[in-house]
Structure formats: C-alpha cells, structure tokens
C-alpha cells in the first residue's frame, strides 16, 4: 500500500532527536521537521507536493517577501479539507 508506506516512512523518520543543550526542546522541534523530506521518498504525490512547496518558498526568498494572504489561504484550505476527512472518520465504518 503505497500511501500507507509513504506516511509510515514519513512518520518513522520524524524522530525526535536529542535537543541541543543550549536550545533545548526548540532545537529538537525544528530539527525533526527537516526529515519531512523523507516524505518524498515513498510516493510521487508527496514528492510533487514537497517540491511545489519548496519552489514556493524559494520564490519568496528570491523576492524578499513573506507569504501572501492568497498563499496562506490556499494552504489552510488544503489543511482544512484534509482535517475534515480525518476527523469525520468513525471506527467501524
């Protein structure tokens, strides 16, 4: 099951690393997010989405700007849609 393997690969690689003694939990948090790139390994859809996200951020950096309201709204809409699907699940269905 590609999708399941994809997510388990992603999540399995999002291991909590030991924090920097100076930064403590904060360093741990940011470091673990970097391994989200592993998401790309398991499936083409995840790869495409991560690449698109990276392209978007690269454009922001080149243009010296923050994300626009339109960009934020689009991202949040995707999250809201996925969140609704996840939260609407009922065991046994």
């Amino acid at each position: 099951m590609d999708v399941l393997n994809l997510v388990l690969t992603l999540l399995g690689n999002l291991a909590v690393l030991s924090g920097d003694p100076v930064l403590g939990a904060k360093g741990k948090a940011v470091t673990s997010l970097l391994t989200l790139v592993q998401l790309a390994r398991g499936g083409s859809e995840g790869l495409k989405e991560l690449q698109k996200l990276a392209d978007q951020v690269e454009a922001m950096v080149k243009e010296g700007r923050a994300p626009t309201d339109v960009e934020w709204d689009a991202l949040k809409a995707q999250s809201d849609e996925a969140h609704a699907i996840i939260q609407n699940f009922k065991p046994g269905e």
């Binding site: 934020w72 999250s79 699907i85 996840i86």
Partner: protein, 140 residues
C-alpha cells in the same frame, strides 16, 4: 530584536547542521531549509504539515487499514491542527506588524512580542507532529 532573530537563526543553524547529507542534497524538496525569515519558515513548516495531513487523510480513506491506525492519526491530527493554525496566525501577524513598522505606525517592541509569540507556537507545533508519529508507530 537582535536576540530574538539570533535565537531563530540559531535554531535553524542547528537544524541545518544536524541534517544528513541526503537531506541537504534534497534541498529542492526541503522548504524549511530554504526559508530565511520566521514567516517563510512557518509557511514551510505549515506546508510540510499539510503534506503529511493530506497523506493521513488518504490513509483514513483507504479500506483495509486498521481502525486503530486511523484513530491514532485522527487524535494526533486533532492536536496538531490547532497549533498549526495558531502558528499561521502568528506569522501573519508578524507580516502585518512589519508593514506597519515600515510606515512608522508601530514599534519594534510590538514586532519583538509577535516574534516571541510565533516562536512559542512554532515550537509547540513540532512536538505535536512528533506525537502523530508516535501514535502511528505504536499502532502500525
């Protein structure tokens, strides 16, 4: 202001230094490492969370996956989502404050407070994502 930015920079530098070569070589897929400002970085984190969330939604809709895995994903998502949205709001607030600051309509102190707020939400978000991992690992 300088201390706050230095803290963000330190966090990112630590993150980059601990990144494996394979991660650094996959910069094209790693929005977090590309981002330079707190707002861009929050967008990258939120976007990465969305990628994971969308994959979790696909699992939820997949027949044959055990209910316990779906429930674990559901619970972890329920925790992470509000933190992700709070991080979004905090980043958006910073953008507004920077704009106001450029027009002389607010103060550096306001920006500093907003940056601290974002940092707090940001560092609460990632452990929530890690909890998502834990639930899935315990149930796979």
């Amino acid at each position: 202001m300088i201390n706050i930015l230095a803290r963000f920079a330190a966090i990112v530098l630590m993150a980059l230094s601990l990144g494996a070569c394979s991660i650094l070589s996959q910069r094209e897929y790693n929005a977090v490492s590309i981002a330079e400002t707190p707002e861009q970085r929050t967008y990258a984190v939120y976007g990465s969370f969305v990628v994971a969330e969308r994959q979790a939604a696909a699992i939820i809709q997949t027949p044959g996956v055990q209910d316990k895995i779906k429930v674990a994903l559901q619970k972890a998502d329920a925790v992470a989502k509000p933190l992700a949205d709070k991080s979004l709001e905090a980043a958006d607030a910073i953008t507004d404050i920077r704009r106001a600051l450029a027009m002389g309509q607010t103060t550096e102190d306001k920006l500093n407070i907003a940056l601290l707020d974002l940092e707090q939400w940001y560092t609460r978000l990632v452990p929530a994502v890690n909890d998502l991992i834990k639930f899935v690992e315990e149930n796979k």
